[in-house]
């Protein structure tokens, strides 16, 4: 199927600003879905709150736009009740790692079969540019007018440490690589995290004098790399891909053993 058939065209154009990277990430996600010919009825897409989380409304699946940071536990309820469904979480860097950080690490620890795509624009876009746990040190935000003295999370390391069994990073500037990273995450059985670098020209770009969306994309292209020798650049690629018993399978086996398969 053409990936564009997974869009709810009557809800477009979307609310995102001109040049916002979120649309690019969403496109890469849908192409990965289309390649796998996932049946719309068998997919649930769950999101939190933020510009990125609005993505759920634009895709033609069973969609759930929840509360800020809570997409993963909502998705947990769906997945455990319907292990046969493909459950995908679309979330922002703030949504996933600040208010939702606790849920994120616990779902990773359980190795619940969710595919979590974190749209990382290093800022709170929806609330107009406050710093997030993924805003780089000394960069600017409306709540860090003198520079952000917090140090950020490295999402890949966080996911890895928490027990995610598939962890990758992609970028809007490398849409083909991003699509593949998401696709492999969809294929992986277990908690899969794909950090998708995205640009927010409206707030992050403006606050940090990074210029237009074009310039931000160019920055991404130059400062992130798919090379296995990234040097000082931000590495893109798959960093973790391991097998570990998946949570709904474990729950199922446990139920069978306790109930005698009743």
């Amino acid at each position: 199927m053409n990936y564009k058939n997974y869009l709810r065209w009557n809800k477009l154009p979307h609310i995102w600003c001109p040049g916002c990277g979120h649309g690019i990430v969403l496109g890469a996600f849908l192409r990965a879905v289309a390649q796998r010919e996932l049946n719309k009825d068998d997919v649930a897409v769950v999101s939190g709150i933020g510009c990125s989380s609005r993505a759920a409304g634009y895709v033609d699946f069973n969609t759930l736009h929840t509360a800020h940071g809570r997409a993963i536990p909502f998705a947990t309820g769906i997945k455990l009740s319907r292990p046969d469904m493909k459950v995908i979480v679309l979330t922002g860097d703030g949504d996933a790692t600040a208010i939702g950080g606790n849920h994120f690490i616990h779902a990773a620890r359980r190795n619940l079969d969710l595919t979590v795509i974190v749209f990382n624009n290093n800022i709170y876009g929806m609330t107009s540019g406050q710093f997030s746990p993924m805003t780089p040190h000394i960069n600017f935000a409306t709540t860090a007018p003198h520079g952000n003295f917090d140090y950020p999370f490295d999402l890949v390391e966080l996911a890895k440490g928490a027990g995610a069994t598939y962890v990758a990073r992609g970028a809007a500037a490398y849409p083909r690589q991003l699509e593949k990273a998401i696709g492999q995450g969809l294929d992986h059985e277990g908690f899969s995290v794909i950090e998708a670098m995205s640009q927010c020209p409206t707030y992050y770009g403006r606050k940090n004098k990074m210029g237009t969306a074009e310039q931000m994309l160019k920055w991404q292209k130059e400062n992130a790399t798919v090379s296995s020798n990234p040097g000082e650049k931000i590495p893109l690629g798959v960093f973790v891909q391991v097998e570990r018993p998946e949570y709904t399978k474990l729950t199922g086996q446990f139920i069978d053993s306790v109930s005698g398969g009743k």
Partner: protein, 69 residues
Amino acid sequence: MSGRFQVEIDPAYCKACRLCIQVCPKKVLAQRADGKAIVENPDDCIGCQLCEWHCPDFAITIKGEKKNG
């Protein structure tokens, strides 16, 4: 003569961000007066789809024979 690929841009969805113009290796695309993208040199398109993949607004469709068969 028309090229092997057709570049379709739906102005109803285009938000004039210029990303497609920037990423096109063949300078196929340009901006019209209101800022939205248009196809200026259709024959030069090599069907790489970079513009489509970089368009945040799903405004571009590349049609025609895919590269590498």
